[in-house]
């Protein structure tokens, strides 16, 4: 796997600069204690570079922005790139909404620039190059699992045209995430894993968790409030949820050392800001949990539709580390009462039916708002070997039929492309909307089965994009200085915020042949042919001769004597 070229030797000696020749690097960590006793930690590393990759500009001098990704962007004329690797499934009802949602497995969606003539060919080459950079089997992304959504996945960066011909989306739900994916991801950071918050990223603790997701997002953003020029932003995010029983041995007491087996000693010298935020909104007077060492810095931010309060630890100040020169945050729970806010949008999906012939996919979308309804856009990409019967598609809410205001369906072609179903559905308040569609399982050719076909075949998660009404007014000014976690999705209006929810992936069993059958058939056929044909051949071509029985001993001696005498035998 490729490693970025780090020319950091000289930077260690340079004093901290806020903007180094148009490169800016910020890092932050948000820790949110969850009501079930688990803890959610979200790392964000953001590198902004004032340059222009568009229209084939040659760029050759890289500083903080990793060269491997910069070369990928300019060679394949990429406008936006979002790739995520996730292990585990995000439980919305227990943990709330994540800062950056991601489906289990690997997900890649790319917006190409409008100068690209052959989008499919460029997409294929891009996936191969990315599989080398991230040590993942992204080369398995081909036309059988790539779709071109017609309304979902609008660009997250700036741009004026959105022609969906330049968008490609693919997921690999089976992709395994392990240290070999984390290693090249860490090497993309300017400080690597040697200084700053990235020191905490130790794989033995990160993968021993309920949920682990690492992602890379590249998009063009406004350089300043006038927004006449663009800069390129690279965000590397890592979300992890540590389980109370696995990592904390059942005691509701969390610390940086317990979570990551490391403490912090310094910020990354190349970072212009390096902060830790702890969500204390549910703990205004300190009655639920206690955070030590105490910090006077507080910050408020509107994120996910709610105004949350955070204790802030600024790692660029030496005073944060205290006299021991090391920061080990401690969060100790005092009482375990209190209810968490129910998330407004939540989704589930499962396969119903029995046998290996037919089945039914059910997707349930819950709207938990008491009186507001809002629209959701459901994107379903089903592989070709589950033949969907779209005439059986039903959308019901509260028992009544709910007609979608927009449907886009692209049927599958065997071994060429998957099904694509996109629907815009209005969810009534406080209701469950159920989308069902029947399918039939196809029989694959025997060479198309994986080496472990009895495990089953995965169907990628459904994506539900929605504008959910927010409790407080969202901040629509996109260029104000905000913590990184609140500025991921751009906000256009104050009364609602954009959220994306992923359902579970499905695991379906396809009818699997007995792979020893060819061997059995060959043995049986050869035996039958050998016995049958052999016997027939012998019967037809052999001739029978009568043979005299051999004479007794006395006669044989007499014959020998007669032969010696020259007389004919008996």
């Amino acid at each position: 796997c490729a490693t970025g070229i780090n020319m950091q030797a000289a930077h260690w000696l340079a004093p901290r600069m806020t903007r180094q020749c148009g490169n800016d690097f910020q890092e932050e960590l948000v820790i949110r204690p969850l009501h079930s006793g688990d803890i959610y930690a979200s790392f964000q590393f953001r590198t902004v570079w004032e340059t222009d990759f568009m229209r084939g500009n040659k760029v050759s001098h890289y500083r903080l922005f990793p060269k491997s990704l910069g070369q990928v962007i300019s060679k394949f004329s990429v406008r936006e790139l979002h790739i995520s690797f996730t292990q585990g499934y995000w439980r919305t009802m227990q943990w709330g909404q994540p800062f950056q949602p991601s489906p289990p497995g690997a997900e890649l969606w790319v917006w190409f620039q409008d100068s690209v003539t052959d989008v499919d060919g460029t997409w294929k080459e891009l996936t191969n190059v990315l599989s080398g950079i991230f040590c993942a089997s992204l080369n398995f992304i081909d036309s059988t699992n790539t779709v071109q959504p017609s309304a979902s996945f609008k660009p997250l960066g700036i741009g004026n045209e959105t022609d969906h011909r330049f968008l490609r989306y693919a997921t690999l739900p089976r992709e395994i995430v392990c240290t070999e994916n984390l290693t090249p991801w860490k090497k993309l950071l300017p400080c690597g894993s040697k200084a700053g918050l990235a020191v905490l990223l130790k794989s033995e603790k990160l993968f021993h968790s309920s949920f682990h997701s690492q992602a890379v997002h590249i998009r063009p953003v406004c350089q300043d409030w006038q927004c006449k020029t663009t800069s390129w932003e690279l965000r590397q995010t890592l979300n992890v949820v540590f389980d109370l029983h696995n990592s904390a041995q059942g005691k509701r007491e969390w610390s940086l050392f317990k979570m990551f087996s490391r403490t912090l000693t310094e910020a990354c010298p190349l970072a212009s800001s390096s902060k830790i935020y702890i969500d204390i909104t549910d703990n205004p007077q300190g009655e639920q949990f206690e955070v030590s060492p105490a910090t006077p810095l507080l910050s408020q931010a509107v994120v996910l539709g709610d105004r949350r309060t955070f204790s802030v630890y600024d790692l660029t100040q030496q005073i944060t580390f205290g006299t021991v020169r090391s920061l080990n945050l401690l969060i100790r729970w005092k009482s375990s009462e209190g209810d968490m806010l129910r998330p407004l949008l939540h989704a589930e999906r499962y396969v119903a039916g029995y046998g290996l012939q037919t089945g039914e996919i059910h997707t349930l979308m819950y709207n938990n708002h008491p009186y507001r309804s809002f629209p959701v856009l459901l994107l379903d990409s089903v592989p070709w070997y589950l033949r969907l019967y779209i005439h059986t598609l039903t959308v019901t809410s509260k028992g009544k039929d709910n007609k979608p205001s927009y449907i886009h369906y692209q049927p599958s072609k065997d071994r060429l492309r998957p099904h694509l179903l996109e629907m815009l559905v209005q969810l009534p308040p406080n209701s469950v909307t159920e989308v069902t569609v029947q399918f039939e399982r196809a029989l694959l050719k025997w060479t198309e089965y994986t080496p472990d076909p009895n495990h089953g075949f995965y169907v990628g998660s459904s994506v539900i994009s929605s504008l959910v009404p927010s409790i407080v007014a969202m901040d629509t000014n996109s260029t104000r200085e905000r913590p990184l976690f609140s500025s991921f999705f751009p906000c256009k209006e104050e009364s609602s915020y954009f959220v994306r929810v992923y359902t579970e992936p499905l695991l379906v069993n396809l009818p699997t042949p007995d792979f020893s059958m060819p061997y059995n058939v060959i043995c049986l056929t050869c035996t039958v042919v050998a016995v049958g044909y052999g016997s027939l051949y012998n019967l037809l071509t052999r001739s029978f001769q009568i043979e005299e029985p051999s004479p007794g001993l006395a006669k044989r001696i007499a014959n020998i004597i007669r032969k010696m005498r020259g007389v004919p035998p008996l």
Binding site: D52, N139, N160, L424, L467
Partner: protein, 387 residues
């Protein structure tokens, strides 16, 4: 004081001609060491490490491959020169009680997975076809560099295979096999394309010696963990993890390699003595008849370590100033972020029709016309057959 060294490339035939210029008193090493350094004839090292087994109970094969990977990295071969192929993921397997670790010694003494590992081919990508393509270099043009074996005629390559095997074949992932004839032909292709200088082939499977019986290309040395008719056995289980951690041959090979450091002088004869029958239960075998040099003069680090060619120069190079991209005239129009869910736009979106289809009923009307013309020409009496 800086030392200036000049290496002179030499023909493989005239191995004894070595020019070494040393400009200062503090020379690098002594003449003998330098002579040895150049006598092997290779300038770079590559390693192809393959584990061919899938499923949790084959944990030991992944541990075997990772322990060789760890030794090879420790002795100097960088990740860019190692092609690591693991057919299944054991470290982050849900049955692993200690995620992100693969242990080789019981009581979890040594984590061979580590924190800095780069697997090039994983899961379903480990197939016979991909393995042979990597060896022969016949990969599709969009394959990334990390997945290629970019060796040349001065490369020493180490190839390590482990998994389940039999007499003349090695099983890949429970669904296909590679035979010893195919492997020998692949090495011959490599020889004809000048893709290696010397090649060391190590295999740790049951009846492993059958895999090197058919080799016929020069400069190949092979080691196997068992002879034809014998099984290679596994070493020790760990009760916490629940599976056997390593195979015996590779376990003792790892112990042997842990004592090697990048400057050690141990040679191949010591490697042949690793894991005698008393420890391994099977009889390890080796084959050196195709190898031109005497195994006693081949260093372990010729294959497991790495040669780095370093040329120190006193010249200065003037770097030009970086080209600042010209921003051009400021754009008049203002950029803005795109609306993430523009409901009204979506509802009024017309789906683009990619293929042109004739209007409804056109085909039906066409057929009616053809039938009518037919019956007009040939008479109405045929119509009675239809109605």
């Amino acid at each position: 004081p800086p030392i200036v060294l000049f290496y002179v490339e030499f023909e493989r035939k005239c191995r004894s001609h070595v020019s070494l210029l040393c400009c200062h008193a503090s020379c690098f090493g002594d003449e003998d060491n330098a002579g040895q350094f150049f006598s092997s004839g290779h300038t770079n090292n590559w390693a192809v490490l393959v584990c061919t087994s899938r499923f949790w109970f084959n944990y030991r094969h992944v541990a075997n491959t990772l322990s060789v990977y760890r030794s090879v990295k420790r002795l100097g071969i960088p990740d860019s020169h190692i092609v690591l192929m693991l057919a299944d993921d054991m470290a982050c397997n849900h049955r692993n009680p200690k995620p992100a670790t693969v242990f080789s010694h019981k009581n979890m003494e040594l984590n061979v997975y580590g924190d800095d590992v780069e697997v090039d081919y994983r899961g379903y990508e480990v197939t016979v076809e991909n393995f042979l393509r990597v060896l022969t270099g016949r990969l599709p043009p969009s394959t990334p560099r990390s997945k290629r074996l970019l060796s040349d005629d001065r490369s020493n390559i180490l190839i390590y295979l482990t998994g389940h095997g039999g007499n003349g074949f090695l099983k890949f992932q429970d669904s296909e096999e590679i035979s010893n004839v195919e492997l020998a032909d692949a090495f011959e292709q490599m020889w004809q394309k000048r893709r290696y200088n010397e090649l060391l082939f190590i295999i740790d499977t049951c009846q492993g010696a059958s895999m090197y019986e058919r080799f016929y290309s020069p400069n190949l040395m092979a080691l196997a963990s068992s002879q034809v008719g014998e099984d290679s056995l596994s070493h020790q289980p760990d009760l916490a993890i629940g599976v056997h951690l390593m195979d015996r041959y590779t376990f003792y090979l790892l112990e042997f390699l842990e004592d090697i450091h990048p400057a050690s002088k141990t040679n191949m004869n010591d490697l042949f003595k690793v894991c005698p029958k008393s420890q391994c239960v099977s009889t390890p075998g080796h084959r050196t008849d195709l190898f031109l040099r005497d195994p006693g003069s081949v260093l372990i680090t010729d294959f497991f370590g790495s040669v780095r060619k370093v040329e120190i120069t006193m010249e200065t190079i003037n770097l030009t100033d970086p080209i600042n991209p010209v921003n051009g005239e400021l754009q008049i129009r203002k950029y803005s972020y795109v609306d993430q869910l523009p409901v009204s736009e979506i509802i009024h979106q017309k789906p683009k029709q990619k293929d042109w289809h004739p209007p409804d009923g056109f085909i039906l009307g066409l057929w009616t016309l053809i039938l009518l013309v037919f019956f007009k020409l040939y008479g109405m009496k045929h119509l009675k057959h239809i109605f």
